[in-house]
Symmetry: C2
């Protein structure tokens, strides 16, 4: 990963991405087995947002993700609905990134002790997320494991499918001159919280008060649940002019490289990030480079669209609940992701 020359980085805050990457390679190297076709046909899509498998006449997409260290902020604030909603959002947005419509979710809660009020709040958040995504709860696992976890861990797995006539959107149709349309995020979503917590603790910030310029307590602002892009994407994913779909999670703008590694993504119209990002950046003197590869910086989802369909796509997005989709850049020959106005350039996703 490209560490910033100065200031705190995500790696230094406790997340050893290179170590994870090395360890994951070891795991994947060991898993050599490929089942016979009568058990389903895997659609190879390494490094993408979802696993795809053909079962009979359907293609099923599977995503799995946890809320990560955002739960620690939930615990401090005693607010659990937001992270409940994040379990759904983190997973269904990854489904959206291959153009899949969510069908079902299973959740996993690991805890030190089961508390009915906490579980109830998590349930209300999950319910809100499912409503936004049009997704069913298919089951879950709750384990009381005080010897394994310190507080609560919250994760889930979502399965999705492709309505008749829709093929998975993998990004392979992306080509130079395509337009990048960005849809706003609702805040930090559920990424970068290891760094957030480090910055807050070093500056001894009181989470119960609003930051300067805000009206709600900082904890509440930071906990704002992941915006769910399902309905917006569902309105576009069957259309051939939709060439690529990216959910900006951990890794920030680097996520675009998961769609196609033979083109350059030029972000020359990135909108002013919301004030919360500026606040976090100033708190610890974090570099621009680190900010844009850790947080969503105000854009949670990107559509890569054929240039002659830009206006039409924006109209469709507006009707599907995303009137705030704006052009943020374009595809060029080359490789990597660049933000010319900040002099930033990223190469490689992991």
């Amino acid at each position: 990963m490209g560490a910033s020359p100065a200031g705190p980085t995500y790696a230094a805050s406790g997340v050893d991405r290179a170590g994870v990457s090395r360890s994951l390679s070891e795991l994947l190297r060991a898993v050599r087995y490929r089942p016979p076709p009568r058990h389903g046909r895997v659609v190879p899509l390494p490094g993408h947002y979802a696993g795809l498998i053909r079962i009979g006449r359907e293609t099923i997409a599977v995503t799995t993700d946890t809320v990560g260290t955002k739960v620690l902020l939930a615990e401090e604030a005693g607010r659990w609905e937001e992270v409940g909603e994040d379990v759904v959002g983190a997973n269904v947005n990854d489904l959206a990134a291959v153009g899949a419509r969510p069908a079902g979710l299973v959740d996993t809660i690991l805890c030190v002790r089961p508390d009915p009020a906490t579980f109830g709040a998590i349930g209300r958040g999950i319910d809100r997320g499912l409503r936004a995504a049009g997704c069913a709860l298919l089951g879950g696992e709750s384990a009381v494991v005080p010897s394994i976890v310190k507080g609560i861990d919250l994760g889930g797995t979502a399965i999705g499918f492709f309505p008749r006539g829709r093929a998975p959107v993998t990004g392979d149709r992306i080509r130079p001159r395509d337009v990048l349309l960005g849809i706003r995020s609702a805040g930090l979503h559920a990424n970068g919280f290891t760094l957030v917590r480090k910055l807050l603790s070093e500056a001894a910030i009181d989470l119960r008060s609003p930051r300067a310029g805000a009206t709600i307590p900082l904890a509440q602002e930071l906990l704002a649940p992941t915006r769910i892009y399902t309905r917006a994407v569902d309105a576009l994913a069957s259309r051939t002019e939709t060439h690529g779909l990216a959910h900006l999670t951990g890794g920030g703008v680097r996520n675009l490289m998961r769609l196609h590694d033979g083109v350059g993504f030029v972000l020359d119209r990135w909108p002013e990030p919301p004030a919360i990002f500026d606040y976090m950046q100033r708190l610890g003197g974090v570099s621009d480079e680190e900010m844009y590869q850790t947080f969503n910086m105000g854009i949670g989802f990107v559509l890569v669209v054929a240039p002659d369909h830009l206006a039409e796509t924006r109209r469709r997005l507006a009707r599907a609940g995303a009137p705030d989709a704006v052009p943020i850049g374009r595809v060029e020959r080359g490789e990597g992701v660049t933000l010319p106005s900040l002099g930033l350039s990223y190469h490689g996703y992991a």
Copy 2:
């Protein structure tokens, strides 16, 4: 839950089942949303082993489970392959309990720090499990979260399907006079380890030595991976004489009640449990009642079969890798699970 009159119980060892049950009810009460049919049709099967959803012309089954506190034993012994295999086994056996054939698995590893050797060993175990089940790895999530976990947590989610002509086996066809066929377990599998660890630590047992009568170190004996019943069940699940399928996990023989609550399961031919169970029981003076509702006691999977198909079913199981399936009891009018020879009787699964 029915606590035993004396001796250690699973609840006392740290797992507050009633608390989990109350908390889960709160969560489920809050999740009220039911999606429209164009997002898939959920097949209601509350309390069963898997969630089922109809997507287009396929029915997809989803299970999610963790290895639980068995990972702590893996850590002590420095052996990770077995629990890697358990991630697969715990999930695909739950798929087998509704008659679904596994298609894909996603794993979740939460850790304090990523270690390539550990991840490699987990991967080798996952590979072995996938081979035994005929299942593909579809993806996974690895999170380095030292602020959430103490060691490693290992879990997964599996999706399965029903080959042409096969309906889910839910247990609704179970009726009095059906025969219960039990297939041997490979040891403790991945359940009851919170109690196991308590018993071992109170008796200050050295895990590196074999127990009396055994030839391998106790740690290795306890870590023996979950037997995978996929191929055996796959040979029977399409047949109408197969009335019910039960994976004996946490809850032991109580699991049978998940299949049908309007009949009694009489276990009057339960085979002598392997010595490891007797060893654990004596170590802490655990009651029979607690043993049979916490461990698999030597039988990891049960098939409920029409009585006139017993011999034929055993032949089919033998050809599918389970020559050791034996009659362990029968279905009667009534309710609950009884073990007459031990004077045990259980009412209710949770």
